[in-house]
């Protein structure tokens, strides 16, 4: 890690943009593709002025053609380029599942190792913007089910930059789910080129009574809840999952063995979500015998994301619901 002097306070989206600029600068095979990433700067202004710096051949606006666009990125990756493809919203990846899952994820395998698809998909996701059911989903768990992919979820500006650079250095397809509500979050970011290791969780807060595994924006809510619980003498360990595929089993299991209590917090629909995999992974591991209480999952309500802001808030885990659930778990009231 860099010396403190190299740290600058910047937003999550600035950090992502900086990673892209570094890559575009250093490697002529890197290109950006996506809808309105040029003069518009991207729906969330993440690419902002990169077109001015690198020109329209490197920062390519695509037509509104997600399947074809993603497929072009796959074909380009197969033949010498390193495309970073932005889906305007992760919801639209549903139009491109075929290229992501049937092609990108499987090409190396189907071709017996003779092909490589170093493509990076960036996917703004999550709820909280009042954009309703088709613009607010958290579908990352699906991709955890797909061998051949790597699936990341940065929760801080530092990770957002380091993961994107790590994804570019990876010879296989990587999907990065960015949270829309985090784009304006500020944090310290090292200068220059560095890699956040893929597949390593981070312990964001140490604790002894209960382990809370969370990803993306839920990390921050979990930390806030942990802070409140600390006042009551409940010590929560908060693990930032960071990578959904592969999952960092070792870090989670070590924590569960210490605390004996596990809770997983995520924004996707509860059923079949990230929490299901983590819970199941722990339950079949050697940590099983250390569990003192049921494993709790806090995910989204079993509904599409509603438009009404109060319903929208109620549909996904918030600081208070995390706090309450962790308290019940610590007190073994479940």
């Amino acid at each position: 890690m860099n010396a403190m002097t190299d740290l600058r306070l910047m937003t999550y989206s600035e950090a992502i943009r900086e990673a892209m600029a570094i890559a575009l600068e250093a490697d002529p095979t890197v290109i950006l593709m996506g809808e309105d990433i040029g003069v518009y700067g991207g729906a969330f202004q993440v690419t902002l002025d990169l077109i001015d710096r690198f020109g329209p051949d490197r920062v390519m606006d695509t037509p509104i053609s997600e399947l074809g666009g993603a497929g072009v990125a796959v074909g380009a990756a197969l033949t010498g380029l390193k495309p970073i493809f932005e889906f305007q919203f992760s919801d639209f990846a549903m139009l491109a599942m075929e290229q992501i899952v049937n092609q990108a994820a499987k090409l190396r395998y189907m071709l017996g190792g003779e092909a490589s698809v170093p493509v990076v998909f960036r996917l703004p996701s999550g709820s909280g913007t009042g954009a309703a059911a088709q613009h607010s989903q958290s579908i990352e768990a699906w991709f955890g089910h797909v061998p051949g992919l790597k699936v990341l979820q940065p929760s801080t500006p530092e990770d957002a930059k380091g993961m994107l650079l790590a994804a570019l250095a990876d010879p296989d397809p990587v999907m990065i789910f960015e949270h829309k509500l985090l784009y304006k979050m500020k944090g310290e970011v090292p200068a220059g080129h560095y890699l956040t290791p893929i597949g390593k969780a981070a312990i964001r807060r140490e604790g002894t009574d209960v382990t809370i595994v969370a990803g993306s924006i839920m990390v921050h809510r979990a930390l806030e809840a942990a802070e409140k619980l600390a006042a009551e003498g409940i010590s929560a360990e908060v693990i930032d999952l960071r990578s959904i595929r592969p999952i960092d089993h070792a870090t989670i299991l070590a924590s569960v063995k210490k605390t004996g209590r596990l809770m997983v917090v995520y924004e996707g629909v509860k059923a079949f979500g990230v929490g299901a995999e983590i819970s199941a992974m722990v339950s079949e591991s050697e940590a099983f015998d250390f569990l003192d209480a049921p494993i709790l999952r806090l995910g989204a309500a079993d509904a599409p994301v509603p438009y009404n802001p109060d319903l929208e808030r109620a549909a996904v885990p918030q600081v208070d619901t995390i706090e309450a659930a962790a308290r019940r778990l610590a007190r073994r009231e479940v």
Binding site: Q134, Y307, P309
Partner: protein
Amino acid sequence: MNIPFAIRTYAPEILREALKRMYLIRRFEEGAEDSYMRGLIHGTMHLSIGQEASAMATCIELGDNDKITSTHRGHGHCIAKGADVGRMFAEFFGKETGYCHGRGGSMHIADVKTGNLGANGIVGGGLPIAVGAALSAKRLGRPDVTVCFFGDGANNEGAFHESLNMAAVWKLPVIFVCENNGYGMSTSTARSTAVKRIADRAAGYSMPGVTVDGNDFSAVAEAVHHAIARARAGEGPSLVENLTYRWRGHSKSDRNRYRTKEEIAEWMERDPIARFRAELIAHGVLDEAGANAIETQAQAYVEAGIEFAKASPAPGIGDVTRYVYAEAQG
């Protein structure tokens, strides 16, 4: 004097109602914009100000049994098809009295009873759904037609291709109405679309394709009229391209870096409402006073709608999972 198609074809009260709905659309969207600024509406919205003739002239011959599928820029379609602005505002304000009971908002505004199957948050999402609605009409032996609104940006989605092809192969009663406002978000048709006129793509599906001035009420009405006649006669689908322009940004996040002030100003001079109003007056369908009365009435509806919406109850917070599945019968 050459009498425009619409004047020749529709009864005066129909034409006056059309003008009223166009004003309603304009005032509704201004009201929504204002409510948004004042924090009464959250999320984002896509305004169709400047495109009112396309919405209204397309719908003028449609009955409640005829269906439309709409887009993210769908307020105009919804009003043109007959929806009540009070229930629309209620939806935008997230209220239980809204058309979607507060679950959908602007991007999913719908009014199934007047045949509006819904706006769609997915560009191109409504295209195959429209073809399905037309299939229902044909299989169930109903004379209904379906109008499928979509944008120039949507024309590059695979769904466009698959939908037009199937509609043509099966000769279904559907009219594809492309509202070409020159841009999909920031991307001009020249940079996104490998053909000059989107209507030229109709030939690839052996269906008629025509491009009209989308700000000319009569031109749109005439093109759609022929397409509807063809559909009702069992001769299959058509593509109509309405050239128009949105005065506002794409959505609330638009910095307008992709077009010039001059371009916007030029199009604002071609206001489709002012033009239709002048035409109606010129042909004696109404006079200045009558037009003013209609405009005032539209404004009053909008104000009443906002009040209705404000006074309406919000959904119960415990009802997050209501409407996910059909409620148990009996």
